[in-house]
């Protein structure tokens, strides 16, 4: 077993060796520009790009003509939201999203607000899901787009996208879905979800960094104003020389996910459940944040009450994880995703996100259970709050002063 152990698969994933192998020829031998129409170097690059497009489309039940290459999911989110808002501005200037969306969505929405658009930010339920009824209630005659993610990046909770898509389709409103975390991990089909725009990232599914895609529905046709102007690549949606090796890698990654999804989801879920049960067996006062039923296979977001998240991460430095504690950010505010679900600030400060994936082993999970158990126990021994709670004090009754 190699130390440190990687358990942060939501942040990024390693490139699958099979993906890397597929990419390598396109750095040197087949290095052509896919836009060069006059020689075999260009033709071969274009062929590879189109094969990748087909592979990505197939994973989500789309047609390859509906895939637009981007630099990654942040760009995809920006292009979907700003591009649609700008194109359909005469139809309306109202958009709907949720408070626990990724910053790439929220900040795109804030940028539109500064341009005079109106945005409704929906509250999420205690289990982290968006209630489709709330989406429906938020729609107005001037609503042009709803952006709701499939799986949340912190708690891994899956939204009822098919129900949301049915509502938006019926209302004639565009549905953008940031499916970065879920694609390749759980089934996602653009037809079943009635999605019009879908953001996808390669590096979250064992492909390379720096490449992503935006699904743009053709029937009925969705139109966008491009963010990046230039040579008119990607049918005018996104100019710029295509990242051929990246695209080949993303295509291969998508193909592997499609072929291995069922087996991998089952295996990763089993490991995640082993981790959860192991921690629950050895430690008291721990809470899983978000729905366990509607959840990505590899996600476990847990609050270890009375232990601060960053201190715990320092203590378990052999295992790479992330935390919703404010101490991991410059803002001193704990995770807005957890807060949106109604998780109290003290428990948000105590949260750890474990992300398991393709290369996680049983041995690594065993090691993690043991290490986390020992370190949480040690930190609780030095926690005044744990001491008070064990002595029967209700810490929520204390009128704490705010030191900040």
């Amino acid at each position: 077993m190699k130390i440190p152990i990687y358990m942060d698969y939501h942040a990024t994933t390693p490139v699958d060796p099979r993906v890397l192998e597929a990419m390598l020829p396109y750095f040197q031998g087949d290095f052509g520009n896919a836009a060069s129409k006059s020689h075999p170097f260009g033709w071969r690059a274009e062929e590879a790009v189109e094969a990748g497009r087909e592979q990505v489309a197939k994973l989500i039940g789309a047609s390859s003509k509906e895939i637009v290459w981007t630099s990654g999911a942040t760009e995809s989110d920006n292009l979907a939201i700003k591009g649609a808002a700008h194109f359909y501005k005469d139809k309306g200037r109202h958009l709907v999203t949720a408070r626990n969306e990724h910053k790439a969505v929220l900040d795109s929405m804030h940028a539109l607000e500064r341009e005079g658009y109106e945005v409704t930010f929906l509250d999420v339920e205690k289990d982290g899901r968006v209630d489709p009824a709330k989406v429906k209630a938020a729609l107005r005659p001037d609503t042009i787009l709803v952006s709701i993610m499939h799986a949340n990046n912190e708690v891994g909770v899956l939204n009822p996208v098919e129900e949301i898509g049915a509502i938006t389709r019926q209302a004639g409103v565009l549905f953008h879905c940031d499916a970065v975390q879920s694609i390749g991990k759980v089934p996602f089909d653009v037809e079943r979800a009635n999605a019009d725009l879908v953001s996808i990232s390669a590096h979250k599914m064992y492909g390379p960094k720096g490449v992503g895609a935006l699904y743009v529905r053709r029937k009925p046709r969705v139109r966008l104003v491009a963010l990046i102007d230039g040579g008119g690549h990607e049918r005018g949606h996104r100019s710029g020389t295509l990242n051929v090796p990246g695209i080949v890698g993303m295509g291969k990654a998508a193909e592997l996910c499609r072929l291995e999804l069922a087996e991998e989801a089952e295996r990763v879920t089993r490991l995640r459940e082993k981790l959860r049960r192991g921690l629950e067996q050895h430690l008291d006062l721990i809470t899983v944040n978000g729905s366990l039923e509607h959840r990505l296979p590899g996600n476990l977001n847990v609050s270890f009450a009375y232990v601060e998240g960053e201190a715990l991460m320092m203590a378990i430095k052999d295992v790479a994880v992330s935390s919703g504690s404010a101490c991991t950010s410059a803002s001193l505010e704990p995770s807005y995703v957890l807060k949106a679900m109604g998780v109290t600030d003290d428990l948000a400060h105590s949260s750890i996100r474990f992300g398991l994936g393709r290369f996680t082993t049983e041995e690594e999970v065993d090691y993690t259970i043991d290490l986390v158990t020992r370190k949480v126990t040690r930190l609780r021994e030095m926690s005044p709050l744990y001491e008070m709670v064990k002595a029967g004090v209700d810490i929520h009754q204390i009128e704490w002063a705010n030191p900040h």
């Binding site: 201190a311 410059a330 709050l385 744990y386 001491e387 002595a391 810490i395 002063a401 030191p403």
Partner: protein, 153 residues
């Protein structure tokens, strides 16, 4: 976040972790911070008849910097008189541990914990408080009376 070696040492090998009997007349207890803010420090001192801090213990809920800051001040206050201990400033803690800017509040909390512990001790002994500990709302002895905090911790 990259931390100094001193900070990591105090975090990994914290000095003087533990609790004293808060009912003891010679013990002063400071409890500062708030769970919602992600840091709570409890600092306790045992003061001799001559006004010298003979022993100090802490328990901290907080990040690595908060734990290291409290560990450091327990070392610093030991052997000092109450007045000497009150001269410890958060900036001394921050520079000793080379705290990054976003962690300065941890050192502020450590300074506050010293003041609160001393104020608690002085109040118990009927001495005039040198510094009013204003970081925890309400009175510690009053909180114990109300049952909000157990006297023994």
């Amino acid at each position: 976040m990259s931390y100094s070696e001193k900070l990591i040492d105090h975090y990994e090998n914290p000095r003087n972790v533990g609790s004293m009997d808060a009912k003891d007349e010679t013990v002063g207890t400071g409890l500062v911070g708030a769970p919602a803010c992600g840091d709570v420090m409890k600092l306790q001192i045992r003061v001799s008849a001559e006004g010298v801090i003979e022993d100090a213990k802490f328990k901290t809920f907080g990040c690595g910097s908060a734990i290291a800051s409290s560990s450091l001040v327990t070392e610093w206050v030991k052997g000092k008189t109450v007045d000497e201990a009150l001269s410890i400033k958060n900036t001394d803690v921050a520079s000793e541990l080379n705290l990054p800017p976003v962690k300065i509040h941890c050192s502020v909390l450590a300074e506050d914990a010293i003041k609160a512990a001393i104020a608690d001790y002085q109040k118990k002994r009927g001495l005039a408080p040198t510094v009013k500990a204003d970081t925890i709302k309400g009175d510690r002895q009053q909180l114990i009376a109300q049952g909000a905090i157990k006297a023994g911790i």
